[in-house]
Amino acid sequence: MAEPALSIRGLTKVYGNGFEALKGIDLDVAQGDFFALLGPNGAGKSTTLGIVCSLVQKTAGQVKILGIDIDQDFAKAKYALGVVPQEFNFSQFEKVEDIILTQAGYYGMPMKEARPRCERLLKDLGLWDKRNGAARMLSGGMKRRLMIARALIHRPRLLILDEPTAGVDIELRRSMWEYMRRINEEEGTSIILTTHYLEEAESLCRNIAIINRGEIIKNTSMRGLLTELDTETFLLDLAEPLETAPLVKGFEIERVDSHQLALSVRKGTDLNDAFQQLTEQGVRVLSMRNRANRLEELFVSMTSQPEAATGIDKQPETSPQAKETAS
């Protein structure tokens, strides 16, 4: 069986001020996966990824990248790794092309190999025309794409994207999604994504882990997670104003305003039944949409509960190997 793209066992991080950012987490990301690592701010996502790419020193635990233990041979592991961090971390005064070619040089890549690869990446990411300009002259979205090009220059097999579309407009975000999908599907690059746009995670990722207060509180497939959602809420836009909410048997219905109702539908319930009852009462619905992203509803419910009362299955997926390591 192929080694996981990323394997983490018992990873702990205690900062100098005593703050325990990671409390012995276990995590596996399969090769070729598109994996979401989600969590609220300060949950431990960036600390985890920082340790994986050597920007943060771990306190305890084991990290393997494609089977290579970072404590044994971090240099070899780093060849397999590409990182797109949350913050812009390139020299603002360097030329766009120089930033990417310099990064290739850091990996020992000869210029004759790096130049065509750089050209291809800049063209794919729509930055070719900007190659001779200083990085500080780029827009926010272009800077994010520059960091993606830089991370891919040495053909990593595992790409870490830490909020790659933060502050990027919708159109550009979608074109970046397409690009990420392409490198995942066509080139087989394993991708770990952190994002606050849960729609992004739902659209792109096949597997997901949710981290909260330094612990993995969920680690499962995206499909599996979404099936756990018991109730979905739809907003119904009405043709005529209503003074009170109509009574719809079998459903929870709430009046948002005179022209809008919120209809809560339990999993497996026939939606036609609700519309039939509304029609019988003379309520005409013009359009409907989800009140919130489905993943968002789950995410909020999981991460907003007090630590002791979550009741969420904590890491049932922990493999036997993890237990051996822990002992």
Partner: protein
């Protein structure tokens, strides 16, 4: 990394550093050249003509090696200090940290880049000095060795400073309050024979005195101190600072949380 990859990464580091100081040449190359020209005009021409000779050499010629060395020291130091601190500040140091490049290559890249600027400015100052005086190179190899070793030593010093620095002020404290006084009191403008015995002994603990005098010996053939000891002292300092900087880098001092 294999040897070829190591050489490519080191070359990349050096090119990046040299490109940086060439890109901002009005800040890096021009000001020291103008400052030193002022020294030549004021101390060498105007005041120097009244001072007369020192160790049988015109005052203008006497101060040239010290002024060249002063440029090399301050530029090597400040280049690495400001370049590495800027990398920390802009977080572009992370580009190096996530790469498989070993820490000694990162250190060597910055140090060679700093030395390149120090030696470049030193060369410019030497050329400027030729408009004011004539220089006979007495010991070319020794001169070259001393100036390169000094540039390397202060580049490493600048790196240590930048690793420890938390704000921009921290990289200007050492050059202003330590390097400048030590250079001025290191026999750039005078022979220590002119000092009372007590101050001569105090001056002997100033490491820059040894570099200035070893360099002056290479160019003019005169020195206040034994040159052999100076070379050994510089070499010991280079090795000690190199391992200190590397140890700090390996520990992630100032760059890893």
């Amino acid at each position: 990394m294999n040897t070829r990859q190591l050489l490519i990464s080191l070359w990349t580091m050096v090119v990046k550093e040299v490109r940086r100081f060439l890109r901002i040449w009005p800040q890096t190359l021009v000001p020291p050249s103008i400052t030193m020209t002022m020294y030549f005009i004021i101390f060498g021409n105007l005041i120097g003509s009244r001072v007369g000779e020192m160790h049988g050499i015109s005052y203008m010629s006497y101060i040239v090696p010290g002024l060249i060395m002063m440029s090399v020291i301050t530029n090597s130091y400040s280049n690495v200090a400001s370049s590495f601190f800027s990398n920390k500040f802009q977080r572009s140091v992370e580009e190096m940290m996530v790469s498989p490049m070993p820490n000694w290559v990162i250190l060597a890249g910055f140090v060679i880049g700093g030395a390149a600027r120090g030696l470049g400015v030193g060369l410019i100052v030497t050329v400027v000095s030729l408009f004011f005086t004539h220089l006979d190179l007495h010991h070319p190899l020794l001169t070259l060795m001393v100036v390169i070793m000094t540039a390397l030593l202060f580049s490493i010093g600048g790196f240590v400073n930048a690793l420890l620095a938390k704000k921009f002020d921290d990289i200007s404290i050492i050059p202003i309050f330590v390097l400048t006084p030590l250079t001025y009191l290191g026999g750039v403008f005078y022979s220590i024979d002119l000092l009372p015995e007590f101050w001569q002994n105090v001056t002997m603990i100033n490491p820059i005195l040894y570099m200035v005098n070893a360099f002056r010996y290479g160019i003019l053939g005169i020195s206040d101190i034994p040159v052999g000891g100076a070379l050994v002292a510089i070499a010991i300092f280079i090795v000690a600072f190199w391992f200190l900087a590397l140890w700090m880098l390996n520990r992630g001092k100032g760059i890893r949380s």
